[in-house]
């Protein structure tokens, strides 16, 4: 054991004395800075665009609208029914100005206004007074009650009715959508919760239209619980498109970007591990020491894993430090359910954990590169092939999955690489909007099993080749 440990120390010294290794750390820092500047530019741009959207803007356009309609009404040639419609619209805008209703952002008041307009057009005057009263008093609860009454009329099943009432109660309780769109994330959570409830109720996944497994069912129930917790504790979700949370956008973008940088360096190091030493002949020196070859290989693999560990730790800590320095918002906490209760993981710990969840598939590619390096003894073949597979597997699998709609595609290792989303299922990845095709749905345990078997097979091949082939 101590012999392997000494070989392991040697391997680390060899790795860290190389210029390329030092360069990889610099590259990580550069990519972090790059991501930071990118996010900062977006932030600047968004702030600028919201600043120009002043609150009085709606008033101005409403007044314009009124002027325009009045101009039309002066014309005698229009028909009576048209005239009536225009007058109703005119009243709508006048009402908006009277009750200070921002027709662009206040969804529920706008909704009421439209209802009133509709009723006027139908000539149904019984409800108008009531609706106007709600508007006049800014009576949000009254609006919710109105919605509830509407629900009763729709003849829903008891379960569905209960679910919808629950959502409305939540909306009333937290005054979601009462004011402007500042708390838009709450609306989004509410909509999401409704979909989750629907999935649990019907047993059909709202995203894939497939039957839910027991596990997924539990997953949705947990997510509903977490959403309630978020509303109760005023904790915005991490969905960037909703919360304008630039910090989490930076953290996740940085992790995605840096993981690629780490993956490339790790693949290069692993690809050179045997091949470069064979081509420069230095492997002979180690093969001549009183150490069996499997010990040398084990030391190499250990040092590779150690390198991944150190680099990932550095990258994740740097990400958190950067985020703390350059964003004045607190980091998001990760919520999960343990024994039926909602538990929290702090931002720093979560980001580190997220990095490690993301790096796990990279280990598989590192072993692949090491195996190719040992078999071919040619570092360029090993590195280029591994890099190509690493970069190309996403697109390739999307095509293959869409062509082969079979059940067994879930056994393909490349369909099981997305471990981070399985380890942190309650984390709304702010840049996950792009992922259209999610491939076969598998559990974390299954994915780990597939990748584990794959890794063990590659390791056996590597050891076998290194132990038994002549070093010429």
């Amino acid at each position: 054991m101590s012999k392997i440990f000494k070989l392991f120390i040697n391997e680390n010294i060899k790795t860290w004395k190389k210029f390329s290794t030092k360069l990889s750390i610099i590259l990580i820092i550069v990519s972090l800075i790059g991501t930071l500047s990118f996010v900062k530019i977006i932030q600047k741009y968004e702030e600028k665009s919201t600043a120009t959207n002043t609150i009085n803007d709606w008033k101005f356009s409403a007044e314009k609208e009124i002027e325009y309609i009045k101009e039309i009404l002066k014309d005698d040639s229009i028909s009576d029914s048209d005239r009536r419609n225009f007058e109703i619209t005119l009243e709508k805008y006048e009402m908006a100005i009277e009750y200070q209703i921002n027709i662009y952002s206040s969804y529920w008041k706008n909704n009421l206004l439209n209802q009133i307009t509709n009723l006027k057009q139908k000539g149904d005057t019984s409800q108008i007074a009531k609706l106007t009263e709600i508007l006049k008093n800014n009576d949000f609860d009254g609006y919710i009650n109105l919605q509830k009454e509407e629900l009763k009329k729709q003849g829903l099943s008891q379960e569905e009715y209960d679910d919808k009432i629950m959502i409305l109660d939540l909306q009333a309780k937290y005054e979601i959508g009462k004011n402007t769109n500042e708390d838009y994330w709450k609306t989004s959570i509410l909509n999401e919760t409704e979909l989750f409830q629907q999935s649990v109720r019907t047993g059909i996944d709202y995203r894939t239209n497939k039957l839910l497994t027991l596990e997924q069912n539990q997953d949705y129930k947990d997510k509903i619980k977490i959403n309630f917790y978020r509303l109760e504790n005023d904790m915005p979700s991490t969905d960037y498109s909703v919360g304008n949370n630039f910090r989490i956008l930076f953290e996740v973008m940085a992790s995605n970007f840096v993981i690629v940088v780490i993956a490339i360096t790790v693949i290069i190091i692993a690809g050179g591990a045997i091949a470069t030493e064979v081509s420069t002949g230095t492997i002979k020196f180690w093969a001549l020491t009183p150490n069996k070859r499997w010990k040398i290989m084990t030391a190499k693999i250990m040092s590779l894993l150690f390198y991944i560990l150190i680099v990932t730790l550095i990258a994740s800590l740097l990400t958190v430090i950067f985020a703390n320095i350059f964003f004045n918002t607190d980091g998001n906490e990760y919520l999960y359910i343990k024994n039926g209760n909602v538990e929290k993981i702090g931002n720093t710990l979560f980001i580190i954990g997220y990095y490690f969840a993301k790096i796990m598939p990279v280990i598989v590619f590192a072993i692949l590169s090491l195996m190719l390096s040992t078999i071919t003894r040619n570092s360029s073949v090993a590195i280029s092939l591994s890099l190509a597979i690493y970069m190309g597997n996403g697109i390739a699998m999307t095509i293959i999955n869409s062509l082969l709609k079979k059940d067994w595609i879930k056994f393909i290792p490349f369909n099981n690489l997305n471990l981070a989303d399985k380890i942190f299922p309650n984390f709304e990845n702010p840049i996950a909007i792009m992922t259209g095709d999610i491939g076969p749905v598998t559990s974390l345990g299954f994915s780990l099993l597939v990748l584990g078997v794959c890794t063990i097979l590659m390791l056996v091949t590597t050891y076998d080749s290194f132990n038994n082939r002549d070093i010429i």
Binding site: N10, K18, G281, T282, F285, T289, P290, D470, I472
Partner: protein
């Protein structure tokens, strides 16, 4: 009687159908510099790689210090220091760093690192990157690495390749010191005859996968018959003198005067010729050389 520390018994190896090593046996003793001579492609490096188990053997056994290199690989390797082909050193590190890597594996302390650096005369430049070393310095650093753990057997594959005469002399002196002072068995392969002759105590000649001759190289101080070419102005007179005084027969019409004579007698012959005005231009020793052994054994490289 010195112990045998490296022994090859009936070792054979083929790559595909081609026999690279055919039933080789040899013994190397403590304190002996053993030359392994052969033309390019005769199987020298393959033999060395088999001793070091970089290549597996088909038949036969190899023991180092009594340990079988297959069954007791780790124990056998503890007794060996070796450079195969080139000294393969990490060029992006300093000489001392390279030594430290090996010192850790071999359980050697830092004091020994300084010792070997002194031995190979690299102490001043040990903290420079190996990139900046000359070939001779790399060779010597490689040697220092192999000597770290005080091996019983030192195996060097073509150590003089690419070295200048000064470098070769330095290497020779170091090897002689190690072998004769520290009682290390040195096994050196080469295709350079003159080099072997100056360095080795014993030479095995390998050709076409077989050992064709094993010969001890006697020291110059011992009495032996040498071949000498004598160039003179007066040829006839010389032939006459040689015949009368030393009883050496030479045909009169021979173009070159070549005699075989005990080395002790050479001064007397020269003195006699000089006194009798034979007009000596040059006396050239034609050594009973390795070259001859080599060409005899390998039949001039043609077979």
């Amino acid at each position: 009687m010195p112990n045998t520390v490296l022994e090859l018994k009936n070792v054979s190896k083929s790559f595909g159908k081609r026999k690279v090593i055919d039933n080789i046996s040899l013994e190397v003793k403590e304190g002996e510099i053993y030359g392994f001579l052969g033309p390019n492609g005769s199987g020298k490096t393959t033999t060395i790689k088999m001793i070091l188990r970089l290549i597996d053997l088909d038949k036969g056994t190899i023991t180092v210090n009594g340990f079988d290199t297959k069954k007791q690989f780790e124990k056998a390797m503890e007794c060996i220091g070796a450079i195969v082909e080139n000294p393969d050193i990490y060029t992006y590190m300093t000489g001392r760093d390279n030594l430290k890597l090996h010192a850790r594996i071999r359980n050697v302390n830092t004091k020994r690192i300084d010792e070997v650096l002194e031995l190979v005369e690299l102490k001043d430049r040990a903290d420079e990157k190996v990139k900046k070393y000359s070939l001779g310095m790399k060779q010597r650093l490689g040697l220092a690495i192999t000597l770290l753990h005080k091996p019983k057997v030192l195996i060097l594959d073509e150590p003089t390749n690419g070295l200048d005469p000064a470098g070769i002399k330095k290497l020779r002196d170091i090897l002689k010191e190690i072998a004769h002072k520290d009682n290390v068995a040195v096994f050196v392969s080469s295709h350079i005859l003159a080099e072997m002759q100056l360095m080795c105590d014993k030479v095995a000649v390998i050709d076409n996968a077989k050992i064709v001759k094993i010969e001890e190289i006697t020291n110059a101080s011992e009495e032996k018959i040498e071949k000498v070419e004598i160039r003179v102005e007066n040829k006839e007179k010389t032939v006459q003198i040689l015949k009368e005084k030393f009883d050496i027969e030479i045909q009169k019409d021979a173009k070159i005067l070549e005699i075989e004579i005990s080395s002790e007698k050479i001064p007397t012959v020269v003195k006699e010729l000089a006194l009798r005005d034979a007009g000596i231009k040059a006396v050239i020793p034609k050594e009973h050389s390795l070259e001859e052994i080599f060409f005899d054994a390998t039949k001039g490289g043609k077979k």
